[in-house]
């Protein structure tokens, strides 16, 4: 079960915005401590949570590291990419 870290909100018109996941993909070359540090820096997570998400990606191949409004999800994805972490966004569920 993915770790849903944030519930989605409403858009300006008051309708419920469709939630998106930021999916972090495992890779065999990035140091674990680098992944944890990036997750802490980008999302503001505590070390324990960042480590848990890193291990989920490492062991299962992917981890949902954030869920919420699409534009923010894309921006997080961009930031992870600039740090060398492969991630994508996808409709939550």
């Amino acid at each position: 079960m993915p770790d849903v870290t944030e519930r989605w909100g409403q858009d300006a018109a008051g309708s419920v915005a469709e939630p998106y996941d930021v999916v972090l993909w495992n890779d065999p070359v990035t140091l674990m401590e680098v992944v944890v540090r990036v997750l802490k820096k980008v999302f503001g997570y505590e070390t324990e949570k960042a480590e848990r998400l890193m291990l989920t990606a490492h062991q299962r191949g992917r981890a949902v590291v954030w869920t919420g409004e699409r534009d923010r999800a894309v921006r997080y994805c961009l930031e992870l990419g600039t740090n060398g972490l492969h991630s994508t966004v996808a409709r939550a569920g």
Binding site: Y20, V23, N26, D27, P28, V29, T30, L31, M32, E33, V34, V35, R37, V38, M54, A57, H58, R70, V74, C77, L78, E79, G81, T82, N83, G84, L85, H86, T88, V89, A90, R91
Partner: protein
């Protein structure tokens, strides 16, 4: 994801900046990594380009061009910072963060080029590629220690 090997080459000073004590090969590696990213960013359609600027939204037919542009600008920015600071004896934390980003993207790019998808794939790496990976890891660990560690106080 891999576990680190410890090595130093970076030392945080009292003013927060980071002193570099790197062999020439390490600086050459950094410069080459930045240049490689710059080249890749200007080569749409190449396999490397797809690694760095691949699909963001799995559920959309194509990515918003604004996001793609933002991504390219982000890469260009850190590459420029690294290129301008690779010859310095002391760098600030922003420059050090750019170094980390370039190293991270370089690993990602190289892993894709070598077809590395699992930890087991790494065992088949040649000596030279493994040495480059270890060198990049050593630089990352040294930078992390210098930025986040207790420093030289």
């Amino acid at each position: 994801m891999s576990r680190p090997r410890r090595r130093r080459g970076f030392r945080r000073l009292e003013d927060g900046r980071i002193a570099l004590d790197l062999p020439r090969g390490a600086r050459e590696l950094m410069a080459a990594a930045a240049e490689r990213l710059r080249e890749t960013g200007s080569s749409p359609g190449s396999p490397g380009f797809d690694v760095l600027f691949g699909r963001i939204d799995e559920s959309a037919a194509i990515d918003d061009p604004a996001y793609v542009l933002e991504r390219q600008l982000g890469v260009d920015e850190v590459v420029s910072v690294v290129s301008a600071s690779v010859g310095k004896d002391v760098i600030d934390v922003q420059e050090a963060e750019a170094w980390l980003k370039v190293l991270g993207m370089t690993l990602s790019l190289r892993a894709a080029e070598l077809g590395l998808r699992t930890e087991a794939d790494r065992e088949a790496l040649g000596i030279r590629d493994e040495a480059v990976m270890r060198a990049v890891h050593a630089l990352q660990v040294g930078l992390l220690d210098a930025i986040d560690g207790p420093g030289d106080v």
